[in-house]
């Protein structure tokens, strides 16, 4: 288990654990209800986190495997 893999727990914390706290319509952020804004931010962060994991994961180094 590589330490960088632990980053993958963050989307679960944000999108599951965070929901009871983010469950509100106001304040609107960028025109979105707060809960929707929260989810969108976390979906984007999920991509970023997976990119970080991908670039630090030695399994993806070297030439294209066959």
């Amino acid at each position: 288990m590589r330490p960088v893999y632990w980053l993958a727990a963050l989307p679960f914390l944000g999108l599951l654990g965070g929901i009871p706290f983010a469950n509100r319509v106001t304040p609107f952020v960028l025109g979105l209800p707060f809960i929707l804004f929260w989810i969108v931010v976390w979906v984007i962060l999920t991509s970023v986190i997976m990119w970080v994991i991908y670039s630090l994961d030695p399994a993806n180094r070297g030439g294209e495997p066959r």
Binding site: I19, P20, N23, V25, V40, M50, A59
Partner: protein
């Protein structure tokens, strides 16, 4: 025939031609027809997997739930993202094993891992049964699109029939390569259509997206968040978790997984797919825009909200383009579902009971099963009445029952025996069937519990039953083999479950 219908039928024809072109000049044995000869790179696999995401479910069901339920619809945006996170580790393992053993289906995977073709039969049947509501949902969507675009001249049942025939012919001629090419066409169309509608409609009717949400909040305070009871935060969390576990348990995903040419394809896709999900946001916007413009669609009719609003706002030719995008979102996943069900029934059920059958016979049977399965789905569709999202959730509850057995099979040597895996799956599926047929929820089963537990997705109950059954069988079998070891001259090690002896070299 109006302009909308002309465009929709033209696109159906185009999809058929693409399918024909894709299959021409190749010898379509089962491996070619179902996993494209395992030659697909990042982009094709991306499109096949993404193609599974942007189905009628998201197009009509996503906007339909935004329209009729509000905040709870946002769950659709979450479960995919979490499933992609898991896919980074899950799919390469499945792919590696599948490629090594030349597997073409999910049932192959279970049969091979647990060394039991009958477990493969069980998994096939669960998968095919779970795919029925999913297929019904695509056909319902096709029907809604064609009949709405006909402005009343084609009844919904005739529309569903037309859609089914087109889908069946399409699958029979093209196989997975046809799906991949049509997926390209579909994803471009849906991207353009969703973004255009999701921006234009709120601006046109409300002056902007923020203004639209403020207007909804004024008219129906709290509708845009999760309610305190029912579809509450605990429903949301349990549903997202359950559906993200079930995400890759769909048999058609396994087929698509084996079509990749290396495992890095999946890790790359895990980065891009969450972002790609955000197109859903625009689909939600359309459903929300419809709330105050085309009010009064009750229950399952909420699925009509997108098309009703589009008809209100645009001339027929544009309705046709939107409808055509919708048709493609039903055809690509619909064809994958039909093809996968047919392949597993013939390859993993028929062949087990008729081991003498040749590869050619199995392949021919798979093709022959396509219209049969389509006809069965058609019958269920005609009985209809469920909202698109409810249909998908029913399928998910079933298919998620394969998750514990799959996870237990991933180590080099499965953690549980084939008997334990089978008992868990059967117990889980029976629980789902009972809960669905009796219309139970956690609240009706355990009325005394606190509200947040009562709101949990009822699929969790089935999953718990499944795990418990698996654990009990594992413990009992270990105890039995341990007791047997005492009297046996050559004792079996206590940690070795019975029946595992033949699995040593896996």
């Amino acid at each position: 025939m109006n302009a909308a219908l002309v465009i929709i039928f033209a696109v159906m024809l185009l999809a058929l031609l693409l399918g024909l072109r894709a299959s021409r000049g190749r010898d379509m044995d089962l491996e070619q027809w179902s996993v494209g000869g395992r030659g697909f790179g990042t982009i094709f696999v991306f499109l096949l997997l993404a193609g599974e995401i942007y189905t009628t479910f998201t197009f009509l069901g996503g906007s339909g739930w935004a329209y009729s339920k509000g905040g709870p619809a946002f769950y659709i945006l979450c479960y995919g993202a979490l499933a992609y996170v898991m896919s980074y580790w899950l799919l390469p393992v499945i792919w590696r094993y599948g490629t090594e053993h030349r597997l073409v289906s999910q049932s192959d995977f279970f049969s091979s891992k647990y060394r039991s073709p009958y477990l493969g039969v069980l998994v096939s049947l669960v998968g095919v049964i779970a795919m029925v509501p999913y297929l019904v949902l695509q056909l319902t969507g096709l029907g809604i699109i064609v009949s709405e675009a006909s402005y009343g001249s084609i009844s919904s049942n005739v529309a569903i029939l037309i859609g089914t025939v087109v889908l069946t012919v399409y699958v029979m001629v093209s196989g997975i390569r046809g799906s991949a090419w049509t997926a390209v066409l579909k994803d471009i169309t849906i991207l353009v259509v969703a973004v255009f509608l999701g921006l234009y409609l709120p601006i046109h009717y409300y002056g902007g997206i923020g203004d639209m949400f403020s207007a909804i909040q004024t008219a129906r305070p709290g509708f845009l968040a999760l309610p305190g009871t029912g579809l509450s935060a605990s429903w949301f969390i349990s549903t997202v978790l359950l559906t993200s576990f079930g995400f890759y348990m769909w048999p058609q995903f396994f087929g698509a997984t084996f079509s990749a040419h290396n495992e890095r394809v999946f890790r790359r896709n895990a980065i891009a797919l969450p972002l790609y999900q955000l197109i859903l946001l625009f689909i939600f916007f359309v459903g929300f825009a419809a709330i105050l413009q085309v009010p009064g669609l009750k229950g399952a009719s909420g699925d009509l909200s997108l098309l009703r609003l589009v008809k209100l706002a645009f001339p027929p030719w544009l309705v046709g383009i939107v409808g055509a995008a919708g048709v493609l979102t039903a055809m690509v996943p619909g064809s994958m579902l039909l093809m996968t069900s047919a392949t597993v029934l013939s390859n993993n059920v028929f062949s087990v009971f008729a081991p003498a059958a040749t590869q050619r016979q199995v392949g021919n049977l798979a093709r022959a099963l396509v219209p049969v399965l389509a006809a069965i789905a058609l019958l269920f569709t005609f009985r209809g009445g469920s909202a698109i999202v409810s249909l998908l959730l029913a399928g998910y509850s079933l298919v998620t029952q394969l998750f514990p057995a799959l996870m237990a099979s991933l180590p080099r040597r499965p953690l549980v025996t084939k008997e334990a895996a089978a008992t868990g799956i059967i117990a889980g599926v029976l629980t789902v069937a009972y809960l669905t047929i009796s219309g139970s929820t956690v609240a009706t089963l355990f009325p005394g519990l606190p509200q947040w537990i009562k709101d949990l997705n009822v699929g969790i109950v089935a999953l718990v039953v499944n795990l418990a059954a698996m654990a009990v069988v594992t413990v009992v079998m270990r105890a039995l083999s341990g007791a047997g070891a005492g009297t046996s001259p050559a004792p079996i090690p206590a940690r070795e479950p019975a029946g595992a002896g033949d699995r040593g070299r896996s």
